[in-house]
């Protein structure tokens, strides 16, 4: 299952609910304002870093770039994908759960 999160973890509870309800081993894609969860040194970094132990966490590159976030700021273990990579994630996992 691929879980998509498009909300800022500082503003809403979407990421928290996703982490609580995603089965271990799931893929999680952070996109739109959700990309802020992928960066180091914030009040949620530790929680997200912990999630990379149980899940494959991805972030949408074009959304990071638009918001002025660089690869060097990424939490270890998070992988950047582009829209083609997003399509692959949706195709390779057996379903998609949106956390909007």
């Amino acid at each position: 299952m691929l879980h998509t999160v498009n909300k800022s973890p500082f503003e809403r509870n979407s990421l928290e609910s996703c982490l609580r309800l995603a089965k271990k081993g799931s893929a999680i894609l952070l996109l739109e304002d959700g990309v802020y969860a992928a960066i180091n040194g914030t009040s949620v970094s530790d929680k997200v870093s912990g999630a990379t132990k149980d899940n494959s966490v991805y972030v949408l590159g074009p959304d990071m770039k638009a918001r002025g976030l660089g690869e060097s700021q990424l939490i270890d273990g998070i992988k950047i994908v582009d829209y083609a990579g997003f399509v692959d994630l949706a195709a390779d996992n057996d379903g998609v759960t949106p956390w909007l």
């Binding site: 299952m1 509870n13 609910s17 609580r20 309800l21 995603a22 089965k23 799931s26 379903g95 998609v96 759960t97 949106p98 956390w99 909007l100």
Partner: protein, 140 residues
């Protein structure tokens, strides 16, 4: 304009409706209900799930008269009836579940007595399994 025709005959899927928003502040609760009702005609399996503020959607005693807004509660009753019909009709291969996440319910100070309809209460871990085995998830 291209009208596409899907082959849905004989296909059986599990669709999960993931309700996470409070009622009335936004319209999502009402419009997702409309789509749940329509889907009954397609005889698919469905999980109608209430998580986060979605659990407030089925709170008893809603009275929207002062807001001039339509109250959704009676419609949840229809969904409960659809589920009962499906449960009782042995010829119908349609399994509907109405699920509330325990953690969301408790954080909001609610118990099943507060709900207008009968629900199945699942833990986060149990609900994670339900989501994981859904073919399509429609959020509200």
């Amino acid at each position: 304009m291209t009208e596409y025709n899907f082959e849905t005959e004989g296909v059986k899927k599990t669709i999960t409706y993931l309700n996470r928003k409070a009622p009335y502040g936004t319209i999502y609760a009402l419009e997702v209900l409309e789509s749940v009702l329509i889907s009954a005609a397609f005889e698919q399996h469905a999980n109608i799930v209430f998580v986060d503020d979605g659990v407030f959607q089925i709170k008893k005693d809603q009275d929207t008269a002062d807001l001039d807004m339509k109250c959704f509660l009676p419609t949840y009753g229809i969904i409960e009836m659809e589920k009962e019909d499906a449960d009782e009709d042995e010829d119908m291969d349609m399994n509907w579940r109405i699920i509330v996440e325990k953690e969301s319910m408790e954080a909001r100070g609610l118990t099943t007595d507060d709900f207008k309809i009968e629900v199945e209460v699942l833990s986060s871990a149990e609900l994670a399994d339900v989501l994981d085995t859904s073919d399509a998830v429609i959020g509200g």
